[in-house]
């Protein structure tokens, strides 16, 4: 009897383990086992069940990898590593000037920190970083699928091969509600800077190139390269919350982002010129949600969700003073030089910071500052 109970318990444990570690077969539709030919890793994003999206600018493609790293951990151990660039460079057998950290993302299930690094010769490397060690993530013989970011219609027509692939610098990528949202800038035309691609990827190339425009104070309008974005819900409606190279914060209702439609966003904040947003995350403290944004030339900013939700209008008047701000208010954290930022768990966020002495450190902060 004891044996039987033990066996049932063992089978139960196994089933629970399988349920926790394997993505559903629907999600893995179209996946093959092999070694994806990734030429660059410019942007990372996690989907459900440990699926990692890797944005490859050099081939204008997105790869979905089943990392099989899907065991749930509630609370992450804080990561604090001084001179992270030196440690990575030594691990790869080179000097810091020969590597660049392209992106960091925390697996929301396992809470492991994934880091995309590019060597001087262009070789991309994916690493998992914790306080004690750096581990390479093998991309040999892994389950993966791939989608090519659509070329313009004429290039997709028959017998139109032989031209060099466009380069599509992927500035930000996020998985939301069954779609991979991607923003970027090409080495060719100025437009077509935002894509919404259903996942699992299909051969139907059902990806929408969204015509997103940015009107400056209601007069001059251009196609707008979105630098970083997130999705958020305000007053029961889902929005794309995007920031441009010149730091305005703009809202687009997600249900209005449809192919072929000319969509204009509603500017809710101007956070000062001479600055580019880098990363955006959402953190919660108590009942309040906060948008945390890292910037190229300003400290990390905290913006209250409820301030965005209650800002009804669109900024139409111009900011008159140098570097002044308008629209929803924000608070600056005393964290400058933050070049990468992600949520570590419900109570912590992690970032890479260039310190005033030149060091590049990996730092964890808790939500107690919020």
């Amino acid at each position: 009897m004891k044996k039987l109970i033990f066996s049932i318990a063992a089978i139960g444990c196994f089933l629970i383990l399988v349920a926790h570690t394997r993505p559903s077969s629907n999600l893995l539709k179209g996946f093959v086992i092999g070694t994806p030919e990734i030429k660059s890793m410019n942007s990372l994003a996690f989907g459900p069940d440990g699926i990692l999206f890797i944005g490859d600018s050099k081939t204008a493609s997105i790869f979905a990898i089943d990392t099989k790293d899907a065991e749930k951990l509630e609370n992450a151990i804080a990561l604090d590593i001084k001179n992270i660039d030196q440690k990575i460079a030594s691990f790869l057998g080179t000097e810091t000037k020969n590597i660049s950290i392209q992106d960091i993302k925390v697996n929301p299930l396992s809470k492991k920190l994934y880091c995309a690094v590019q060597a001087a010769d262009g070789t991309p490397v994916l690493l998992i970083i914790d306080n004690d060690k750096i581990q390479p993530v093998s991309l040999s013989s892994v389950p993966y699928s791939k989608i090519q970011l659509n070329n313009p219609p004429s290039e997709d027509a028959k017998d139109r091969g032989g031209r060099p692939l466009r380069v599509w610098a992927i500035s930000y990528m996020k998985y939301a509600d069954g779609r991979v949202l991607v923003s970027g800038l090409s080495n060719q035309e100025f437009g077509s800077t935002f894509r919404s691609i259903p996942f699992p990827f299909t051969n139907e190339q059902d990806q929408s190139s969204l015509e997103i425009y940015h009107a400056a104070h209601g007069q001059y309008e251009t196609a707008a390269p979105i630098r970083t974005f997130t999705t958020a819900e305000f007053n029961g409606k889902k929005y794309l919350l995007a920031s441009y190279t010149c730091t305005p914060l703009v809202l687009f209702p997600l249900d209005e982002l449809k192919p072929g439609l000319h969509v204009r966003g509603r500017t809710v904040g101007e956070f000062g010129a001479g600055n580019s947003p880098i990363d955006m995350i959402t953190m919660k403290k108590g009942d309040d949600l906060f948008l945390i944004m890292a910037n190229s030339d300003r400290p990390v900013m905290k913006i209250k969700y409820k301030d965005i939700a209650s800002f009804d209008g669109s900024l139409t008047t111009q900011v008159k003073e140098f570097f002044s701000i308008a629209g929803v208010p924000y608070i600056s954290f005393p964290f400058v030089g933050v070049v990468q930022l992600d949520k570590l768990d419900e109570n912590q966020f992690v970032y890479i910071q260039r310190k005033s002495n030149g060091d590049l450190d990996l730092v964890t902060q808790t939500t107690r500052f919020l």
Binding site: K39, S40, N42, S57, K58, T59, Q86, K87, A89, S90, F91, L92, G93, T94, E95, N98, I99, S100, Q102, Q118, A119, A120, D121, G122, T123, V125, P136, P152, P153, S154, E155, K158, R160, R163, P164, L165, R166, V167, A169, I170, S171, L185, N187, Q188, E189, F190, G191, A215, A216, G218, Q219, Y220, T222, P225, Y244, T245, C246, A273, G274, Q318
Partner: protein
């Protein structure tokens, strides 16, 4: 410095000196018996082959535990990430990224240094082949600059090596858009730079505060530093300066209707010559125009662009046949200011006459008799 620190430093220097002696002895041995050799793939040092004679006491099973390859003088000495494979006469270590030229690596067995090797530098100097747009007078709202190099260059640090100066030689900051991932082609030989659209676009805060990056009537110099390294560590060696004068804003879309075609003769491989109405973006000229035959298939051939990106020549691989041909021009084709065939870079929404089209292709037909 106190006595204790001084002594510690003395000991550590002694250890380093002894280590370098051991390694240099081994290096000599390596020179004659080549116990460690470099595996080269596509000009990259992608592996180290270690002769079995070099590590006689290591058994195959414990290879990855007992043998390490390390970077000498690493900031954090550690085993380099990579994989060992067992070959016929020895072991092959392939690091995750190729070994860096000019750096010295050591083989450690059971924690002790055994042999070292320097990855030699490549002696071919990279060159800057071209800068586009090639003209020396450019519109105030110029949007893109393309740099073409002879060899793959180091990516991710272009802002250190590119500078725009005014007529007095003063550097102009924040001219180019900073991108986390720079717009290099797959081979790392072509770089596209965007002038900050926020400063070009009228009435945006950066434009209001700082003005456009370039101003009508002024002279500028684009300076490419001689210190820009290629992927093998060789520097450009020569500073490259492109001087140019800025003209008025360009607010007119390109117009293929005004292009003049010089039709080639039947049975020849003479180029089709297209005189454009204005200078257009070099990379889009290469990519957004197709020569299509009467059956709708694109004609294979080569493209040359010259005369300040105002002349487009298409030379077919096979002689021209009699019949109808057409140029298919994708409407995404842009001029130097980002105005494409459908719409201007920026639209003045308060101007009731502003026009915008939504075509995908523009066709220009011609006939070979």
């Amino acid at each position: 410095m106190n006595k204790r620190t001084c002594r510690l430093r003395y000991y550590s220097e002694l250890i380093l000196f002894s280590l370098s002696l051991i390694i240099s002895c081994k290096l000599k041995k390596e020179d004659t018996a080549t116990p460690v050799s470099i595996l080269w793939e596509d000009g990259r040092a992608s592996g180290l082959f270690i002769s079995k004679d070099e590590v006689p006491l290591v058994v195959d099973d414990s290879l990855s535990r007992e043998v390490e390859v390390r970077l000498l003088k690493a900031a954090h000495p550690t085993a380099i990430a990579g994989n060992f494979t067992i070959e016929q006469d020895g072991y092959l270590f392939k690091p995750l990224i190729p070994f860096t030229r000019g750096l010295q690596y050591a083989i450690f067995v059971k924690g002790k240094p055994l042999s070292a090797i320097i990855i030699p530098k490549d002696s071919i100097i990279p060159k800057l082949l071209a800068i586009y747009p090639s003209k020396d007078s450019l519109p105030e709202n110029l949007l893109k600059i393309h740099l073409f190099f002879s060899k793959p260059m180091v990516e991710g640090h272009s802002s250190q090596f590119i500078k725009l100066t005014d007529a007095k030689g003063d550097s102009l900051p924040d001219t180019f858009l900073t991108l986390q991932s720079e717009l290099w082609n797959k081979e790392s030989t072509e770089l596209t730079l965007w002038l900050d659209p926020g400063r070009i676009k009228r009435d945006l805060v950066p434009n209001k505060l700082f003005g456009p990056p370039l101003k009508n009537g002024r002279h500028y110099q684009l300076i490419i530093s001689a210190d820009w390294p290629d992927q093998e560590g060789n520097l450009l060696m020569h500073t490259f300066i492109k001087g140019f004068t800025v003209l008025a804003r360009d607010t007119v879309s390109p117009s293929p209707a005004r292009w003049k075609l010089t039709i080639p003769k039947y049975g020849t491989v003479q180029p089709l010559v297209v005189d454009l109405d204005k200078s257009l973006d070099y990379i889009l000229l290469e990519n957004a125009i197709w020569v299509v035959d009467g059956t709708g298939n694109s004609v294979n051939g080569s493209v040359q662009i010259d005369n300040g990106e105002m002349k487009y020549r298409f030379t077919p691989e096979k002689p021209w046949l009699r019949g109808g041909y057409k140029l298919e021009i994708e409407t995404r084709l842009e001029d130097l200011a980002g105005n494409n065939l459908n719409r201007l870079f920026e639209l003045d929404l308060k101007n009731p006459h502003h026009q915008e089209q939504n075509k995908k292709l523009y066709e220009k037909k011609w006939q070979i008799e």
